[in-house]
Structure formats: C-alpha cells, structure tokens
C-alpha cells in the first residue's frame, strides 16, 4: 500500500478529515517524545509538552505553506515549546548556560559488565540523556530523526557550523568516556 506523504495527509486534514491527523501524530510522536524527554529531562513534562505541540501544529496548519518540510516546521514548534516549558519550570538558567562554548562533564555510574551490544546501548543512552539540552537536541535530530546539519540549523535557528560544533563536541565527550573506561578494544 502506498505510504501517504505528510502533505497529502495534511491536505486531507485541512479538508475536514480531522481523524487523519492521527496518522501524523503516530508518525512523529515517538521521535518528538524522545527529543522532548532529553530536553526536559522528565517523562511527564515531555508527554504534556508533546500534546501541546500537536495541538499548536494543528491550530496553525493554515500557516503551514509547505515551503519547508512538515517535519522541519513541526520540530521547530517542538523545540520552541520545549524552551518555553524549560523557562516556565525555572530551568532557564541551565538552558542559557548550554551555549556552544560551555563545558560539560559526563559521568556514568552504569555498571558496564560485558562488551555485549545491549549493554553498550544502555550505557550510551544513559550518557546521551545527561547531555545538556542543546547538545541532546542536536544528537537526537541528527541520529534519531536522520536530519542533515542544514535542517537542524533551520530548526534551531543557529548556523550550520555551530550545529557541527555541537555535534562534534557531543561525540567527543562520549568518545572520551569510552576511552576512559577502556572499552574501545573490547567493542571492536
């Protein structure tokens, strides 16, 4: 069966087929939820914020002209809503501190018992969850959403070179931990 494009579904929603919006929700909810969970560091806040994002997107569908991809437009809503939520829950200070130039330390208490793939995934996931909001956002959009640096730059409203700096710094921080724990030889 042919998979409908986002635009085809949205056209149907705009024509009055409200239920078709559930296809869009199902298509984006888990990836957007992963992003929000890593930005807000709280599952309940992430789910509530995600609801707001889908409602905002729905109510603004008439403003979506199709010039950019729906995913880019939607993730911009997600990112902005998350930033607003962060401010409202008094985490603005932390948010403002996570600029490109800021330093952060990653630590993991995870007991890495073996070189099994499953263990490593949990270990990496734990580290990614510790990344500051901006770094976690870039990692999430790049790897989970498979977006290019240009698309991420468009969503976060920062330059492509800054996206690359954030991406590289995140990977370097994770790499240093792998080296520090002497896991490289075991994993290759």
């Amino acid at each position: 069966m042919k998979k409908l494009s986002d635009q085809e579904i949205l056209d149907s929603v705009i024509r009055g087929n409200q239920a078709d919006y559930s296809i869009i929700i199902d298509r984006y909810k888990n990836k957007a939820f992963s992003l929000l969970k890593r930005m807000l560091k709280n599952e309940q806040d992430a789910e509530e914020t995600l609801q707001d994002c889908f409602l905002k997107a729905y109510n603004s569908l008439s403003n979506f002209k199709g010039e950019a991809k729906f995913s880019t437009w939607f993730y911009r809503i997600v990112h902005n809503t998350a930033l607003t939520k962060l401010s409202s829950i008094k985490r603005k200070t932390e948010n403002q501190m996570t600029s490109v130039d800021d330093h952060f330390d990653l630590k993991s208490d995870y007991d890495f018992r073996s070189s099994e793939k499953e263990d490593l995934s949990i270990f990496i996931n734990d580290l990614v969850n510790q990344l500051p909001e901006r770094f976690a956002t870039v990692i999430n959009l790049y790897y989970l959403n498979e977006m290019s640096c240009e698309e991420i730059s468009d969503i976060l409203k920062i330059s492509v070179s800054n996206v690359k700096v954030i991406l590289h710094r995140s990977r370097n921080a994770l790499k240093d931990i792998i080296i520090e724990k002497n896991l490289v030889e075991e994993l290759i």
Partner: protein, 173 residues
C-alpha cells in the same frame, strides 16, 4: 603537535573531507596507534548513536490529542454564539431608542400635517428626530446612558472572560 585533532577525525567520520585530505588521515591513522584508538572510539559512538532507539509515548496518547482537537474546534462556535447574543442585545437597545423617538415625534405632530406635502413631513420628522435625540442625549440623560452602556460592557466582559475560562478548563481536562 597532533595532526589528527578531534575536529579532523569528526570530519573524516562524516565523510566531509576531500579525497586528498582523507588519504592523509588514513596514512596518519595507520601510523599511530593512539590516533587509531581515538578514531575507533569515535566510530563506536557514531555507530551506537545511529542505532539509538526512540522512546515511546503512552498507548492512549494519539487518542488523547485527537479528543482535544475536537474541543478546540468547538471553541469558535461557542464564541460566535456568545458574540451573537451580545450584538443582538445592543441592536435591540438601539432599535428601541429609535422606535421610541419616532413614536414620540408622530404622537406630538399636529393633525394638520396629513395635508402637508411629503417633503415637509420628512423635514418635520428629521427635525423632530434631532430634537428628540437631543433630549435623550442631554447632559442629564447622557450620564445615565453612559452608565447603562458601561454596565452592559462590564457585564459582557465578565461573561466573556467566564466563557473563555470555561473553554480553557475544558481543554485542559
């Protein structure tokens, strides 16, 4: 000085280097065990991140959002209904004032006016209308009318905000 800094390793990993630079990096990696270790660690991270699993929302998430969309749609119709009622009240008051004025003019005009030409009647009516309006809106009545309108606006405002609050409460449930 280490020629293979983290920046170059990341660019090499992403395939952003041209062929010549990539060949140079490969030679340097082949000659330095430490650099190879760093690159391998970076590659492990890259591969792991590429397979990172998405988190899942609650089972009823989609249904919950769809049910809230319905309520969002109801909002404008509620508002339209409310605005229609308020507008109707103001129109009725205005029509009442005009009707009262016209009735007063007609009842005070002389019986001989039936024989006067139409233009004179219109002239008389318009004069009477101005006179009556002047009487209604004289300094004494003006403050009373202002008071009534202010009260009307305050009551409308109160109901409007109550209506808004109710709709917001509906959305958040």
């Amino acid at each position: 000085m280490n020629l293979l800094n983290d920046e170059i390793l990341n660019e090499y990993l992403d395939g952003n280097l041209d062929e010549q630079k990539a060949n140079e990096v490969e030679k340097l990696l082949a000659s330095s065990e430490n650099d190879r270790k760093r690159f391998n660690a970076l590659k492990v991270i890259h591969d792991e991140l590429s397979q990172i699993k998405e988190d899942r929302t609650s089972e009823e998430f989609t249904q919950l959002v769809i049910s809230k969309l319905g309520k969002k749609f109801e909002l404008p119709s509620h508002q339209k209904y409310f605005i229609f009622i308020i507008a109707s009240i103001f129109i009725l008051i205005s029509v009442g004032i005009v009707a009262y004025t016209v009735t007063t003019i007609i009842s005070t005009s002389s019986p001989q006016s039936e024989s006067i030409e139409v233009t004179e009647t219109v002239h008389q009516l318009s004069n009477g209308l101005i006179h009556e309006l002047k009487q209604i809106f004289n300094s004494k009545n003006l403050s009373l009318i202002g008071l009534i309108f202010s009260l009307g606006i305050m009551i409308s405002g109160y109901f409007f905000f109550e209506n808004q609050k109710r709709n917001k409460a509906n959305l958040s449930t």
